[in-house]
Symmetry: C2
Subunit: 247 residues, 2 copies
């Protein structure tokens, strides 16, 4: 059974302020929790149905999670969680400090400027994982990695791709790799020379890349438009650009 | 002011059954409504704030919509509409019959099998419009084009891309163009010969392409995976595949 205090804690973790204060976040649903078990994130508590616990008993023992697991009904989980479709498992997990990565040579790094929508950030993390991107650097006003909507949209990729938040202007000013940036009036990406050892900056749909960060872009690129839509969603544009870099 | 009966009608159009019965649907928000005005869809009523009406008075006269426009407050529009962020304008519009298109030669046609999520269908219509796709053929269990979430996600592209629903097996059986289909174990799309005069079939994320439709696929294709994500969202995959066909 989920106690009143546990329920209160789970609900509080929907708020960034509380996630920051407690250093905890939620991972919900079978797919995301199974990816969590493959990572080095530390689980504090696991709430799960008897069926889930039975099915995963070997794994839970191996991960030393048996004593941290609390049997719950589907109804309790439905009430506690933020996802419409999850009534199987919720984990409370320790978050990690947002550290700037050591970037290897010949590594593409994704940079997000003002991507505030959690669904977009999560979808970008997922497609970055598909294309083997290890690091995403976000502006401080991007969505919080530990927002439940971000975690849900990553479909488990949150456990692999490293996401940090920092001041992009200072960070990128200190770099000497090419810095590609997506603009509506950039060079046709189908015809551009795209190198692997670079940063790719994506701006938000409504504001684009901020002026300050824009000054640091060495190569403006664009996805050519064959029809009449005025723009693409930022997650979609990121996926298409990564495909062009990786082909 | 929005009358009680009008409010009831607007709310009822959230339901497919009522949209079918009345032959009406909703278009909400400035961007989508402005694209609506560029199309041949017939507006039945327009609910808008005085500011919107002022700003667009010339256009409303030209479109002979003045007598069909009902001045409303932002609060009324917020209550009536289904979108969190729209409190400016809502249109009630006549839907069109779902007719199978005449397909020209050298035209790529997108085919969606069991894409039930309205957000995905809307995003696919938007990216199809970006790549100049004129026709999308959906299986009968795809989301309804006139679902408010579909229309919202198209960002106006619903007014340009023609979407029809039909039995895919019968429809595709009668075609003699190549039929590409996205599978996890298909040929690497970066290395495939992709011709413009073809159908591209995309299945749902959870079920893929149905077995029956799968039998009609002439070319199985796949987006190569450079990392560890298990799959891509169907809208994302559609965008990346269209980019590969169009490059």
């Amino acid at each position: 059974m989920i106690s009143k205090n546990q329920l209160k804690l789970i609900h509080s973790l929907e708020l960034k302020k509380q996630r920051k204060k407690t250093g905890l976040f939620l991972v919900q649903g079978e797919k995301n929790v199974s990816e969590l078990f493959n990572s080095d994130f530390e689980v504090v508590n696991l709430f799960a149905t008897p069926e889930y616990i039975n099915k995963n008993s070997a794994l839970l023992s191996q991960k030393q999670l048996v004593s941290l697991t609390i049997e719950s009904t589907a109804e309790e989980l439905q009430k506690a969680g933020t996802l419409k479709t999850n009534n199987t498992v919720i984990a409370i997990v320790k978050s990690k400090a947002s550290e700037l990565p050591d970037i290897k040579n010949n590594q593409l790094v994704l940079v997000l400027d003002q991507v505030g929508d959690p669904g977009n950030l999560g979808t970008i993390i997922r497609v970055a994982d598909w294309y083997g991107i290890e690091h995403i650097i976000c502006s401080t006003d991007c969505a919080d990695l530990y927002n439940p909507k971000v975690i849900a949209a990553t479909m488990g990729s949150f456990a692999r791709v490293k996401v940090s938040h920092t001041d992009l202007y200072s960070y990128l000013s200190a770099q000497d790799k090419p810095i590609y940036g997506a603009f509506l009036e950039g060079e046709n990406i189908h015809k551009s020379k795209l190198v692997d050892n670079a940063f790719i900056v994506m701006g938000s749909e409504s504001h684009g890349i901020s002026e300050q960060v824009g000054q640091l872009i060495t190569d403006k690129i664009t996805i050519p438009n064959f029809g009449q839509a005025e723009s693409l969603n930022v997650a979609m544009a990121t996926g298409i650009i990564l495909d062009n870099f990786k082909r």
